[in-house]
Symmetry: C2
Subunit: 219 residues, 2 copies
């Protein structure tokens, strides 16, 4: 029985690959691991049966035949990267450096990116919207500038492609059509290089198929 | 030569132990590892010499004699937990579950807590302050309720005290005098239990001494 990943039955991103199951799907494709998917409605995510797996009522979770239940996309991606080659260097110092970029993606770059998304979604009719959006754009731009300087002319953040790049690109993709990344051509090229990978393409197609199925009459 | 941790010369928290070097100091005390500290002014943190170690111009960083340079408090704490016993279970499934809580602290609980702090610091004179604060209080309370349910009557989130607890308590401490945690007596007890640990007390005293020294005439 393959391990089971949970994902949205109706992803709020409408199949654009921005939900957090996509990060895990991508890691699974990079490391060549088969998996099954259990889709959940928003109601199901808040039921006791799912909260027993994911205390915050979110997706994704990861369940294996030998009884492991895991949550947090960062932890699942790290776990997969530790199980098979492809997402972590063998050298111990390079390995923990790649993991530092995984944390940087999740704890330094993603928070202002998510805050900006929430502001555009939920505050666009508030009198403070323009002011707040300008502030948040500034915070995101600062991080992008620092990241751009750190990447420089290299292909990836730390040697070969790693789980740090996978997570950083996943976070940058959440900026979508904001145009904020356009000021950093090396970051634009970095995202293009990562999303051109066959593993990304397979993972994207898999989550896209879920969205398209959900749009069919009677689905 | 002991490894070197960087910290604020003048911490904006005025010695309350909320800056991110405290998480690393605590992990160092839990695992019994000696270290030295290099203090940085805000100006120094944005200089090329520090940006070469920490791309986002933050503290803490971690430098060892054998050439490792690490950033992101989550990555440093995980690295220390992997080096010596005390912060990670030996069993592989329990180990990655503890790491999941480390990620949950940093990517699920901390973002709304930090957002609330930033709002109280930077938006308190704005006409929308009360409205925004109420929204953010709601987001923090939701996470605290879920965390409280997950902890239940247990002492720690996953078996023995782990790096997941260390990070979760560090995040909860940032709520300070907001009173938000008071609605969850088991979380209040959890924080008290963690901060009563001798390792926490030693780490707190060490960062506090830096603040007190900075207050002396001529310091």
């Amino acid at each position: 029985m393959p391990p089971i990943l949970t994902a949205f039955a109706n992803s709020p991103d409408r199949g654009r690959g921005l939900a957090r199951d996509m990060r895990v799907r991508w890691a699974l494709e990079e490391t060549g691991q088969p998996y099954a998917v259990r889709l959940l409605s928003f109601d199901q995510m808040k039921q006791p049966s799912h909260l027993a797996l994911q205390p915050f009522g979110q997706i994704p979770t990861w369940e294996t035949e030998d009884g492991l239940v895991l949550f947090e996309s960062g932890a699942i991606v790290l776990h997969l990267a530790e199980q098979r080659p492809g997402l972590l260097p063998r050298d111990p110092q390079a390995r923990i450096r790649a993991i530092a970029w995984l944390f940087a993606a999740l704890n330094t770059v993603e928070p202002p990116v998510v805050e900006r998304s929430m502001c555009t979604l939920f505050e666009h009719e508030q009198p403070w919207f323009e002011h707040r959006l300008a502030q948040l754009d500034g915070r995101v731009r600062q991080r992008l500038g620092e990241l751009s300087d750190a990447l420089g002319e290299r292909d990836w953040l730390e040697g070969d492609f790693s789980c740090g790049d996978l997570m950083m690109v996943s976070v940058l993709l959440r900026l979508g059509s904001s145009g904020l990344i356009d000021g950093s051509p090396n970051l634009t090229a970095y995202v293009a290089r990562a999303t051109a990978r066959a593993a990304y393409q397979r993972a994207f197609a898999a989550q896209r198929a879920v969205f398209e199925h959900s749009q069919q009459p009677g689905a």
